[in-house]
């Protein structure tokens, strides 16, 4: 289905795969529709990235899943109705992803602020910096996983929609499955026979097309929250650097 400004609102496969129960977002969606296009976009983004955002809350504030979900829901409703918040997000320097996380954390801190006259223990003011950093890394990792899951789902959908499922099949068998599963690449002969590919050049064309569709979709998914082309490009580089660092640390 298409939202305003041609933005496709695709099924949120990644979020739907979460084991956490979903709060009823219909009220939030109605509020967003009542306010307008930008707010609909915000509501879509918060729902889409709710898995890493909830994790951000559970790790930062030691909340239960249910509490994190409710706070996220309230945050969405609050920001959607607050005029100018998204405009501020667009004006801020730095990544929208980080702005969203810090805005969410500030919102929750205000909500959890201890009442007056209740003594605060000194221990509760101690922050475990390494644990916070580790939590932030996990959140960003899940954010990236959400992006890529959505991108691949859209690539598959595109290939089937244009009547070229072979593009997806070659991509899946020769590239994705070997990366995800360490699977042996199927031998060329059985691949072309099973998919009815007539020549090696046709096979290469299919892969080249898959690559172009993938890149276009990846840029579009990132472009949903980093509106400008330059910002989206920087965000992509940032995400790659993060993964390279995380991969290097594991070795």
């Amino acid at each position: 289905m298409m939202g305003d400004a041609g933005m496709e609102i695709l099924p949120l496969a990644a979020a739907a795969s979460s084991a956490w129960p979903l709060t009823d977002w219909s009220g939030v969606r109605k509020a967003a529709q009542a306010v307008g296009k930008d707010s609909e976009r915000l509501e879509f983004l918060i729902r889409k990235y709710q898995k890493p955002l909830k994790l951000h809350l559970t790790c930062t504030f030691e909340l239960s899943d249910q509490a994190a979900e409710e706070l996220l829901h309230d945050f969405a409703q609050d920001k959607i109705l607050k005029e100018g918040w998204l405009a501020k997000a667009n004006r801020e320097r730095g990544r929208f992803r980080n702005f969203l996380k810090s805005s969410l954390a500030n919102f929750v801190r205000d909500r959890l602020e201890p009442k007056a006259n209740v003594p605060v223990s000194l221990e509760s003011l101690e922050f475990d910096i390494p644990a916070e950093e580790r939590a932030a890394e996990i959140v960003d990792l899940i954010w990236i996983q959400t992006i890529l899951a959505d991108t691949l789902a859209r690539v598959e959908q595109d290939c089937r929609r244009i009547g070229k499922p072979q593009i997806w099949e070659v991509f899946r068998l020769r590239i994705l499955q070997p990366i995800f599963e360490g699977a042996d690449v199927p031998d060329y002969e059985s691949l072309v026979r099973d998919l009815g590919i007539k020549t090696p050049f046709q096979a290469q064309n299919l892969l080249g097309t898959a690559k172009r569709i993938f890149q276009r979709r990846l840029n579009r998914v990132i472009g949903e929250y980093e509106k400008s082309g330059a910002a989206a490009k920087l965000e992509l580089e940032d995400l790659r650097r993060f993964l390279a660092r995380a991969a290097g640390e594991k070795q």
């Binding site: 496969a13 990644a14 795969s17 990792l141 899940i142 990236i144 996983q145 890529l148 899951a149 691949l152 789902a153 598959e156 099949e169 899946r172 068998l173 020769r174 590239i175 994705l176 499955q177 990366i179 995800f180 599963e181 690449v185 199927p186 031998d187 060329y188 002969e189 072309v192 099973d194 007539k198 020549t199 090696p200 050049f201 046709q202 096979a203 290469q204 892969l207 080249g208 690559k211 993938f214 890149q215 990846l218 992509l236 995400l239 790659r240 993964l243 390279a244 995380a246 991969a247 594991k250």
Partner: protein
């Protein structure tokens, strides 16, 4: 073939795996390997000419009237049509790309490009290239050094080498 739940796979993936996926748009990792070359060569030789050359020749005869249906038929025919060999040569030259760092499927195309020239030389005693015999020899030697060169093509290349070697 078992299907792939790509979303589930992504959420199970390590940073290294995610990085490979993230970089797919920048460069396609070597999808075809060197071990695929003999199969690719066999595949294109048995492929109908129609698939790759019809767009270039329009309604023209692709050789079916004299029993040429595949690229393999073209190389084996005792009197292959010159125009068809030239068409095939241009097609494979384009697919072969520049010389440095050819991918496996480009090496297959380069070998087929050489085969079209060699076929014209051996079967028709005609040169369809601007390369001199001396310039052509290293290419023919390269083809002869490929373990995945099929027997009939090897015979053709050896014959061509004799001819080119004499004249060079």
């Amino acid at each position: 073939m078992p299907d792939l739940d790509s979303a589930a796979a992504v959420f199970r993936s390590s940073p290294e795996q995610l990085l490979k996926i993230m970089n797919l748009g920048e460069e396609l990792p070597g999808a075809w390997k060197e071990r695929d070359r003999p199969q690719m060569l066999r595949h294109i030789r048995t492929a109908p000419l129609e698939v790759e050359l019809r767009a270039k020749i329009g309604d023209g005869d692709l050789g079916s009237s004299i029993g040429i249906k595949t690229f393999g038929d073209l190389f084996e025919h005792s009197q292959p049509p010159l125009e068809l060999l030239q068409l095939a040569k241009d097609f494979f030259k384009e697919k072969a790309g520049a010389g440095a760092n050819r991918r496996p499927e480009q090496e297959v195309a380069y070998l087929l490009y050489l085969l079209t020239i060699v076929t014209a030389r051996v079967r028709l005693a005609v040169s369809i290239t601007q390369l001199s015999d001396q310039e052509l020899l290293p290419g023919v030697d390269w083809a002869l050094n490929q373990s995945w060169l099929e027997e009939s093509a090897r015979t053709l290349c050896l014959r061509a080498r004799e001819i080119l070697g004499r004249r060079a």
